[in-house]
């Protein structure tokens, strides 16, 4: 009997998969650059998160950018279903940013894409995170951060903006994010999907990376008021969880639409 062909003679991603990876990377680059200015034509992301949402800073804009990045990386992972997809997408995103982005010469801001992709890759490939006690990690984080955010709002310590200006009126965004955190904690307790944890932690790392490495020196952009750290982490975690849920939902819809073609389940 003739032995099976050696994998050394093959390629890892097929041409079709490479096409999907490149297409999703281009969409990620376009959405990261164009969608915010399309949704908020008269303002910037900073104005939206600080004046609109009333979040503290710095780094609250990551709620938008981190969510978009996690969404596309996870969607690529769901559609291609091969380890290394998110990493390859991050490399192509960096290449696109270098060749077409306005931040072409700021290498410092590009490395976070690789780290976020690696976190998503790593956690998505660890099956035991869906078993106890690890399955309670995400709900516990959401619960603790949600309660802390609500407590900050109730105690009247809410601030907004990069300079941590005290909120004069009702800090509705604190209540909104806090309650959303508790609701998501309950949902994540019921549906223990490791992709939600992967995107949530990756999004939190994105914010931490911003605080530590994107300023003029190490930790130059760290929040001046440490009390605001749980609020910002909760916003980042929710951004990742919601984007992962959206990517998972879209992959399910695509699987359902292509089911008649004999495609595999997105979970397979």
């Amino acid at each position: 009997m003739k032995p099976a062909a050696e994998p050394a003679d093959t390629i890892y991603f097929t041409l079709q998969e490479l096409g999907v990876i490149i297409a999703l990377s281009v969409l990620a680059a376009l959405s990261g650059a164009l969608v915010p200015s399309w949704i908020f034509p008269d303002t910037t992301i900073s104005d939206f998160v600080y004046s609109g949402l009333g979040l503290p800073g710095p780094g609250a804009g990551e709620v938008v950018f981190g969510g978009i990045l996690c969404f596309w990386l996870l969607l690529g992972l769901f559609l291609v279903k091969k380890p290394g997809t998110a990493f390859a997408m991050a490399i192509i995103l960096i290449a696109i940013d270098l060749m077409a982005g306005s931040q072409a010469l700021v290498i410092q801001t590009l490395d976070v894409l690789v780290f976020v992709a690696l976190i998503i890759e790593a956690i998505s490939q660890i099956p035991f995170v869906e078993r106890r006690p690890w399955s309670y990690l995400l709900p516990a984080c959401l619960l603790v951060l949600g309660i802390t955010t609500l407590a900050i709002a109730i105690l009247g310590c809410a601030t907004t903006g990069e300079m941590d200006t005290a909120v004069t009126g009702l800090p509705w965004s604190y209540y909104l994010f806090g309650i959303l955190g508790l609701v998501c904690a309950f949902i994540c307790c019921r549906y223990q999907v490791r992709y939600l944890l992967a995107a949530g932690l990756a999004s939190m790392y994105y914010m931490l990376h911003f605080w530590l490495f994107w300023g003029s020196g190490f930790a130059a952009r760290f929040p001046p008021d440490p009390v605001m750290i749980p609020v910002l982490f909760l916003a980042a975690l929710l951004s990742g969880v919601v984007s992962a849920a959206a990517a998972y939902g879209i992959s399910r819809v695509l699987w359902y639409l292509g089911k008649t073609d004999g495609s595999n389940s997105p979970d397979q």
Partner: protein, 61 residues
Amino acid sequence: MCAPIVLPEAAIGLAAAHILGIGLIAGIVIFNSNGVRKGMSSLLGISDGIGSALDRVISAR
């Protein structure tokens, strides 16, 4: 006789960024070959997980 061509710093930076970007995409294409990656793995004495248990985690779900 050659006339020296002096590029402004921005042009050098832009060219470097484009070269790096094309190099990254070329790297993805080159490392997409299992043969190249297998050779690199044996050269470095590490396994990249292709065909391993980790490789099958997503497809096993």
